[in-house]
């Protein structure tokens, strides 16, 4: 071993470019307690739980101390335990503690650490024993009295998403996370991406729960309950049941039937329609000279962000509806005369879909939303548990007819770069497997913030890019405004795409990447790779959709 190591709890640990002690301690196999450290966010250093003791008895916050060769630290001393307990006690003293009835019960970081550090009593009076709710948003619910002011949501919203809907207001013990002018979140520039909820260690921000609404409407003989399930959902469910499966779409379908859905469809089918329409639109734009770049339109948080920040770019956004909103009118057309009340439900990895479903653009001839209820993956998991279904034991079932087929192109919509890859498959001249493979590894795939590459098409070379995380959109828009040319840009608001959606169960970056790989695996297993190969497309375009493509599958977002 060279000299570049330090001593952690008596054992040497090599320093290999770690930015801070906390990363190094984790590498040494020690789980440091922290509320405010996320490797993808800036170091905030506010919770003071990750303090370590150096050999002179000095205290240092591991998250903000760079490792130095020869340094000796201890991570678990009597003093550190005392301080951590006191910090937890102070947090609990100022926190609504109705744990047993809390959304995050069992999943709350504060609860977990308080248990871990044996905090059995709180010696201070609690001024925040009742919840203080802001449920103005369709996507998230905030409870200020469960906030521990770790700032994770603020940094997520500002640094990664560049939205800036929330920030700190007031100071000292009056400090709180608030929107501008202390208004409800719905009146802010929040885009509903829900990433704040995804990083919140407590239940101060949770995704809006619509499961109870759904339960009320299921199992009614006069209702035809129809569910569509988004691609990213199938790779994020198994782990929550301790089940070692990768793509569990079959089991999800079975669970939804058991829960009370008459019909279960796959949003990947809707995605195939999106590929057809978006490819056509792109080719048309190439013929008519723009406007370029064409931005994808599948992500409702991105659309909302563009409406807020770049209204001048709205004409550049594809007029295609999102897969959910293409599929829903088709379902509506199919069953509107079935004699029953149709309940159209979408199971999504996304909190912004709840907002998208309520948009005026997506209502039928009677003014009723095409999608009645959107539940997230987390709510689906909860409902499966509530129904008492043993996930491990349930036998997989197939997607219902008549919309029972989908292609690999539709399935990869759930990962960043997927929409773009599917569209390129559709428009590219060479449809051989080797050409597809080249395409996949030339830049479309991967999890980098902005992945750009050149795509030869007929006699020209196109500049295309896939962007994930709204903060990266600003970067590419700056480049466009300074004159750089792009032909096609896929935007997904959430880091890593829909697999990292805020409606998904909490996952590390590594786990999110695993989900992406599993979607590519699912694509591999699909016999049909190209959307136009989906027999349903031919059927729909020659039948129900004939002459009505624009009415049912497109939308014009105007500010």
């Amino acid at each position: 071993m060279n000299n570049n190591f330090m001593i952690i709890d008596g054992s040497p640990v090599p320093i290999e470019g770690e930015k801070n002690l906390l990363e190094l301690i984790r590498k040494a196999g020690i789980e440091m307690p922290t509320f405010c450290y996320y490797s993808e966010l800036s170091v905030y250093g506010a919770c003071r739980m990750c303090m370590v003791e150096n050999k002179w008895g000095g205290m240092e916050a591991a998250c903000s101390t760079p490792p130095k060769a020869g340094m000796e630290i201890k991570t678990n001393t009597p003093r550190l335990r005392k301080y951590r307990k006191m910090i937890l006690e102070l947090l609990l003293a100022n926190h609504c503690r109705d744990c047993t009835t809390c959304d995050k019960n069992g999943k709350c970081k504060l609860q977990e650490l308080a248990t871990r550090f044996d905090v059995h009593r709180v010696r201070f009076d609690n001024p925040k024993s009742e919840p203080l709710i802001d449920d103005s948003s369709l996507s998230i619910t905030r409870d200020a009295n469960k906030c521990i002011l770790c700032g994770d949501c603020v940094r997520m919203c500002n640094e990664i998403q560049n939205v800036g809907a929330i920030d700190f207001a007031f100071r000292g013990s009056n400090m709180k996370v608030a929107c501008a002018f202390n208004k409800p979140i719905a009146e802010s520039n929040c885009v509903g991406c829900g990433q704040c909820a995804a990083v919140c260690p407590t239940a101060a921000i949770v995704i809006k729960d619509d499961a109870h609404l759904l339960w009320q409407q299921l199992n009614d003989n006069d209702t035809l309950a129809i569910a569509q399930v988004a691609p990213a959902v199938r790779v994020a469910v198994a782990k929550e049941f301790g089940y070692k499966g990768e793509n569990v779409m079959g089991k999800i379908t079975a669970c939804l039937h058991r829960i009370g859905f008459d019909l279960v469809f796959d949003t990947a089918t809707g995605a195939d329609m999106t590929v057809m329409e978006e490819a056509n639109e792109f080719l048309e734009r190439l013929e008519n000279g723009g406007p370029f770049p064409m931005f994808t339109s599948c992500c409702p948080a991105w659309v909302k962000y563009a409406e807020n920040e770049y209204p001048e770019l709205l004409p550049n956004i594809s007029t295609c509806r999102s897969p959910m909103q293409m599929f829903a009118p088709v379902i509506h057309e199919q069953y509107k005369n079935c004699g029953k009340k149709v309940l159209s439900v979408a199971v999504m990895p996304c909190t912004a879909k709840k907002f998208e479903a309520a948009r005026d653009e997506f209502k039928d001839e009677n003014g009723k939303p095409y999608v009645d209820i959107v539940i997230t993956t987390q709510e689906l998991i909860k409902m499966i548990k509530q129904a008492g279904i043993v996930f491990e034991d349930i036998e997989p079932e197939a997607i219902d007819l008549p919309f029972g087929t989908m292609t690999g192109s539709g399935v990869i919509f759930g990962v960043t770069g997927g929409v773009m890859e599917a569209v390129i498959r559709r428009v590219s001249d060479d449809k051989s497997i080797s050409a597809l493979r080249n395409l996949a590894f030339e830049g479309v795939r991967g999890f980098g913030d902005i992945r750009e590459f050149e795509l030869p098409l007929k006699d020209r070379t196109l500049k295309v890019a896939a962007v994930n995380g709204l903060g990266n959109v600003a970067k590419i828009v700056e480049r466009i405004k300074s004159g750089e040319h792009f032909d096609l840009i896929e935007v997904m608001a959430c880091p890593n795409g829909c697999i990292g959606g805020a409606g998904q169960p909490f996952a590390s970056t590594h786990e999110k990447h695993k989900r992406g790989e599993n979607l590519y695996k699912a694509d591999k297993l699909c016999t049909l790779k190209f959307s136009e190969e989906n027999p349903l497309m031919k059927e729909l375009y020659s039948g129900m959709l004939k002459g009505r493509e624009h009415e049912l599958l497109h939308v014009n977002y105007v500010k």
Partner: protein
């Protein structure tokens, strides 16, 4: 006046000093915040008009001879000076030559002053400072001033604070001149390191070391930032310098720019100092017009621009990283370090950050040398220190003494002892971040290192003196209330911990203290001190810890006996009637606003303490000292 060269500066310095010398009398009216509040600007106007009425040549602003004005011979100069420091006695008027100081001057005294002292040579005893029956004519003879050694405050009270010409007349900007023409940047750095000037903002970090660290950063853009966010309750050293000698501060910062290669300076002043802001703005404008700020200073290649930022009043913005965040327009919250300010400070660029008093020391060190500077005070803390003396002391105000002066000298010699002949009890040093020093500590030499040894800190220089009637639990509560209000709220121990410490202290002084409260306070203090993010948090518990250390029995008396030994905590006072002394006159019954006293006339009365609101009316009404307070 445009100073395009070294010679031009020299020429104008000669010109203005000649003009000042030509003034037969100089009347300096204190225009510091305290005296202005006492009406000194009215006195200034009045004296000017009175002198003019008498037909005497009155000089308010020095003239540029070059512009055709005539040199005023045998004229009277009337000036708005900076703070003299003796705020207790304001408004102050000093008359030179002679160094006469008139105290508590009123508008109606002006006529007599002009008549007798300005136009004549007669001293008005009535307006002089008196102590123990002695009349002090000359300012320098007054004990308050006699013990002081003024280095950074040397011009405060002696020149017009609103005129660059007056500053030039006493050789102003000579230090910038020397730094630009006679020294290389490295030589400036060497001189500053050699001087061992330590930061006056509280930390005591050597200025030279800091400047060297900034100078060696390869990043081409650097900044010089002055911390003028003086927030300790009762402290006003920096304010006085900014108000009374703003050019000296500018000079110190320009030299910092020359030494480190920075071309922009930012002064962060709290908005509660409007006078300081306007004096600085005026000084910057004057310096820019004179070619002493801006492009090509004194005709050289060196450019330096000065900016002012007003702070919105958050104490935490005196912390370096919160201050730079605030200048950048962000929320004023300290950030984690590293990187340190010298590496990535303002706008992520290497930044020299010193406070006002520290910068104000720089010009003299450049002019007189490090050796001279080190001859003042102890070796490890050379120089002088300005203190704001407040509390139960005879002479409150602003003082400057050599480092190493003892507390006893400051309180009893400069400060004139405890007010009302009471006993000295303690002095809070270093404001809300400092600790208290007691009788045993009176002979400690005040410097950075010796105070650290006793668990106190020099801080920015606030000294609050307390006598026997001060309750130390209440003192701790006062400072904790301040810190709690001023916590930015970022880190848990400071945000939540100070709130809980305050809660406990509040219940103790209200008579609701519980067993174990002292231990809980110490446990919280230990956690906050060891784990808080910034200096404000780390030192937030100091007043509590040091009062518990020195006055634990007072805490215990509050908690266990529900008594305040100093008799200061109103809620703990119990009124009772001594039946042996009570004549049953019923005076107290009539005085009591809540009907808490009952009894029959000519028999001893009784106070029902459950009804008593502790207003003390019975106590003052009793003619027989039968009502007992305690």
């Amino acid at each position: 006046m445009q100073l395009r060269s070294r010679d031009a500066l020299d020429e104008y310095i000669r010109l203005y000093s000649k003009e000042v010398d030509a003034q037969k009398k100089k009347v300096l009216i204190c225009a510091g915040t305290g005296c202005v509040a006492g009406g000194s600007l009215g006195i200034y106007d009045r004296i000017i008009s009175l002198v003019k009425e008498k037909g005497v040549d009155c000089v308010v602003e020095l003239a540029d001879e070059k512009n055709g004005s005539q040199l005023h011979e045998a004229s009277i100069g009337v000036k708005r000076s900076g703070c003299h420091g003796f705020c207790e006695m304001g408004p102050l008027v000093r008359i030179e030559p002679g160094g006469f100081l008139y105290t508590k001057v009123k508008l109606e005294d002006c006529e007599e002053i002009v008549e007798k002292t300005v136009l004549g040579d007669e001293f008005i005893d009535r307006l002089a400072y008196k102590q123990n029956g002695v009349i002090y004519k000359q300012q320098e003879e007054i004990p308050f001033y006699k013990m002081q050694q003024r280095v950074v405050l040397e011009h405060c009270g002696h020149i017009d604070a609103t005129s660059i010409k007056e500053y030039l007349a006493i050789g102003g900007y000579r230090a910038v001149e020397k730094a630009l023409f006679d020294m290389k940047p490295q030589e400036i750095l060497d001189e500053m390191v050699e001087s061992n000037l330590r930061g006056r903002g509280g930390g005591g970090f050597p200025l030279g070391k800091k400047w060297v660290q900034v100078a060696r950063q390869s990043e081409p853009v650097k900044y010089v930032v002055c911390n003028g966010d003086e927030g300790d309750p009762g402290a006003f050293m920096d304010r006085s310098i900014m108000e009374g000698d703003p050019h000296r501060l500018l000079e110190g910062m320009i030299i910092g720019g020359i030494a480190t290669g920075a071309h922009d300076g930012y002064i962060y002043v709290r908005a509660e100092y409007p006078l300081a802001v306007s004096r600085l703005r005026n000084a910057i404008k004057e310096a820019e017009e004179a070619g002493l700020l801006g492009d090509n200073i004194l005709g050289t290649d060196f450019c330096f621009k000065m900016h002012i930022n007003r702070g919105a009043g958050a104490f935490v913005c005196g912390e370096g990283s919160a201050l730079t965040a605030s200048i950048e327009g962000k929320r004023g919250m300290p950030r984690v370090k590293p990187p340190r300010t010298v590496e990535k400070g303002l706008f992520e660029k290497p930044t020299v950050l010193n406070n006002v008093e520290t910068f104000a020391n720089v010009p003299q060190i450049i002019l007189k040398g490090a050796k001279w500077y080190k001859s003042i005070g102890p070796e490890n803390s050379p120089g002088t220190k300005a203190f704001a003396l407040t509390g139960n002391i005879n002479n409150t105000g602003l003082i400057e003494v050599p480092m190493g002066t003892t507390l006893r000298e400051i309180i009893f010699d400069v400060g004139g002892g405890i007010r009302g002949g009471k006993q000295f009890k303690a002095v809070q040093i270093g404001g809300p971040s400092g600790g208290c020093l007691v009788t045993d500590d009176l002979d400690i030499k005040l410097d950075f290192d010796s105070l650290k040894k006793v668990g106190a800190m020099i801080g920015s220089g606030g000294l609050v003196v307390m006598d026997e009637s001060s309750c130390m639990v209440e003192v701790a509560r006062f400072f904790m209330n301040f810190t709690q209000n001023e916590s930015c709220g970022k880190c848990v121990p400071c945000r939540e911990g100070t709130k809980r410490m305050l809660e406990i202290l509040e219940r103790i002084v209200a008579g609701n203290g519980r067993d174990g409260d002292i231990e809980l306070l110490l446990e919280l203090a230990d956690t906050i001190t060891s784990t808080a993010l910034c200096g404000l948090g780390k030192s937030a518990a100091s007043p509590v810890v040091s009062t518990i250390k020195n006055f634990r029995s007072e805490y215990e008396a509050h908690i266990k006996d529900k008594k305040c030994p100093a008799g200061n905590c109103k809620k703990l006072v119990v009124y009772s009637i001594d039946p042996a002394l009570c004549k049953g006159c019923s005076r107290c019954v009539k005085a009591c606003p809540v009907g808490a006293i009952s009894g029959e006339v000519r028999n001893p009365f009784v106070i029902d303490s459950s009804k008593c609101i502790k207003c003390g009316a019975c106590f003052t009404s009793c003619h027989f000292k039968a009502v007992k307070e305690g």
